[in-house]
């Protein structure tokens, strides 16, 4: 198993490097950064000064390595606007996004997995149709619109929950619901599909033939097999929620990484954008590695290869 894992690790490192290069190049594509920074009516001399100041006169690959070495040491540069260290900025806003992502995933799993199990066990019953309907609903609804609708009903009409901000736990309810709907359909579908496949399998037929009871057959034999791919999906979904929270944070005025990224993009504050892109990719790769590890642990066919 260890050679398998090391191989994955190696590939992961290559992926991270590739991503960092791409995001680096992407942002330099925007045209003349120095000119933008200097302003419209700057003289060529001023522009040159800016270039030297930010190291923009060096060749692209040199700029990249400069950035990469600094990044490894934790120095992600400074914001072009506030001059604060990017690292600190990101750190201060990371908590909100991470919390929301974990909560969103948690709610999604707690709802979607049992629903998927019931839908598979009672296939073609009203439970099954309801859960498939819910899955369609969740994957079709525009998340920003859903957030607004939730606000309209719960904050305005019913006045149960606050609208925006992030002071109390109540502020996190609607954003969490919105985020969980973004990943719930896939988790439900995968659980259901896996359970159906498990329930149709020969080993489940054998379990019935041995006279085992429904509880044992469904939960010990079937679910244990069905849940393997769901773990990987959950890890990937967490990565997705970390990156996809920008809309939810915009609607609910939450101070997370997403809104930081959004503001920085609008202001063309590249050091921040690049660092966020890199950080999100890094966590995604980490999460998929973690999922692989868990999978290997859970599946004896991989563990004892």
């Amino acid at each position: 198993m260890w050679s398998y894992f090391l191989k994955r690790l190696g590939i992961a490192v290559l992926v991270i490097i590739a991503v960092s290069i791409i995001s680096f190049v992407l942002l330099r594509l925007s045209g003349d950064l120095a000119r933008d920074l200097a302003g419209e009516d700057a003289t060529p001399a001023q522009v040159e000064q800016i270039e030297k100041l930010y190291g923009l006169d060096k060749p692209l690959y040199v700029q990249y390595f400069d950035w990469a070495f600094k990044a490894l040491k934790g120095d992600l540069g400074r914001s072009l606007y506030s001059n604060e260290p990017v690292f600190n900025l990101i750190l201060s806003r990371l908590g909100v996004t991470a919390l929301l992502a974990v909560l969103g995933l948690g709610v999604a799993v707690v709802v979607a997995v049992p629903l998927g199990v019931f839908a598979a066990v009672y296939r073609n019953s009203w439970i099954d149709r309801c859960s498939l309907g819910l899955a369609v609903f969740g994957s079709a609804i525009p998340n920003f619109w859903f957030a607004l609708i939730l606000i309209y009903f719960f904050s305005v009409k019913l006045r149960w929950l606050p609208i925006t901000g992030s002071e109390s736990w109540a502020h996190f309810v609607l954003p969490t619901i919105t985020l969980s709907t973004m990943v719930m359909p896939q988790i439900m579908r995968l659980t259901r599909g896996g359970m159906i496949e498990a329930l149709d399998s020969e080993y489940v037929k054998m379990a019935w033939a041995k006279g085992l009871g429904p509880g044992v057959v469904f939960f010990k034999h079937a679910l244990r097999n069905a849940v393997l791919p769901v773990v990987a999906l959950a890890a990937v979904s967490l990565g997705f929620l970390l990156g996809g929270s920008v809309i939810v944070e915009a609607v609910f005025s939450l101070n997370g990484i997403g809104s930081l990224a959004y503001e920085s993009i609008r202001r063309a504050d590249f050091p921040i954008v690049q660092s966020i892109l890199f950080m999100l990719s890094f966590s995604y790769v980490l999460l998929t590695l973690l999922a692989d590890l868990i999978n290997a642990r859970l599946d004896p066919r991989i563990r004892l290869h």
């Binding site: 995001s23 525009p142 998340n143 920003f144 607004l148 959004y262 993009i265 892109l277």
Partner: protein, 300 residues
């Protein structure tokens, strides 16, 4: 010597052809039919917007701002869905918005489908290093947060219809690649491919004549699902202001414009949002329906 066996009588069942089976199943597949109706309606709105829209979507009438829709007090047939903050007719903007939605959605799906499927088929068929490279590219793409990349690219390249379509296409090619690759690998191991290779057919010929027809239905199904997602993301980008730029009506922009008046004129956000929702459901139903009726296994 005993007699020859009796001729085939009606004890035996004749097997219908695949096309007949598909048509038979399609006739009874409600989801497919509903999806088709919805998607065609949106396509019609997009194609014939100038004829269908009751008013000019850009014409402002500040005297008739925020007129209520037909089902509220004060509504009139002149503005069935009311008017927005600038007095523009909501229904007309909705119909014109369908153009943006369908063009971007369809265009992004087609572009990313072409690129992604090509990569997937090549990787799946050739295997070896080429395949390893393509998998690597897919992994790199997967690691990157799509929405943020799209936002960054729009801020760099601007929000024209073409640039948005291409940018969104960059977000989805990996799903096509994965599906095409897996499907190609499955088909590749079947004997008729080996037979074609033995008879000296060129790789390109094999890909077009043997592999493509067998995986086409899976690609189309994924294509429809990706189109739905493209529409959702385009709407989100427009909502955030980093997508299609106003005054061009995109359904996402309609929602974001209506947001300021949300609390006392909720229909301004409900209607465009509902339009997106219904269209996406329609596309999903259509895609699922196509998969159900063309899937070879689903016929027993």
């Amino acid at each position: 010597m005993p007699n020859a066996p009796a001729p085939l009588d009606n004890m035996d069942v004749a097997m219908p052809t695949p096309w007949q089976q598909t048509w038979d199943m399609a006739k009874y597949h409600l989801g497919l039919q509903i999806g088709l109706v919805i998607v065609l309606s949106a396509a019609l709105c997009a194609l014939f917007a100038p004829f269908l829209a009751p008013a000019d979507p850009f014409a402002q009438d500040l005297g008739a701002r925020l007129a209520p829709p037909i089902w509220e007090a004060g509504g009139s047939w002149e503005h069935i869905f009311g008017t927005d903050g600038f007095g523009r007719d909501v229904l007309s903007r909705l119909i014109y918005g369908a153009q943006v939605t369908m063009i971007v959605g369809f265009g992004a799906a087609v572009f990313s489908g072409l690129v992604g499927s090509t990569l997937g088929i090549v990787g799946g068929y050739l295997g070896g290093r080429v395949d390893a490279l393509i998998i690597f590219l897919i992994n790199v793409k997967l690691a990157m947060p799509g929405v943020l990349i799209a936002l960054s690219l729009v801020s760099i390249f601007g929000g024209s219809l073409l640039s948005i379509t291409i940018i969104l296409a960059l977000l989805f090619w990996d799903r096509f690649a994965v599906v095409a690759r897996t499907a190609t690998q499955q088909v590749r191991t079947r004997e008729f491919i080996a037979a074609a290779e033995c008879s000296g057919a060129s790789k390109v010929w094999i890909i077009f004549r043997e592999i493509l027809p067998n995986i086409a239905n899976q690609i189309i199904v994924i294509g429809s699902l990706e189109m739905a997602i493209a529409i959702l993301i385009e709407a989100a980008l427009s909502f955030l202001g980093l997508g299609i730029q106003p005054p061009t009506p995109s359904w996402g922009i309609l929602v974001s414009e209506g947001r300021d008046f949300m609390f006392f004129k909720p229909h301004l956000i409900v209607i465009p949002g509902l339009a997106i929702f219904i269209l996406v459901i329609g596309i999903n139903l259509l895609g699922d329906g196509i998969r159900d009726v063309t899937e070879p296994q689903g016929r027993n």
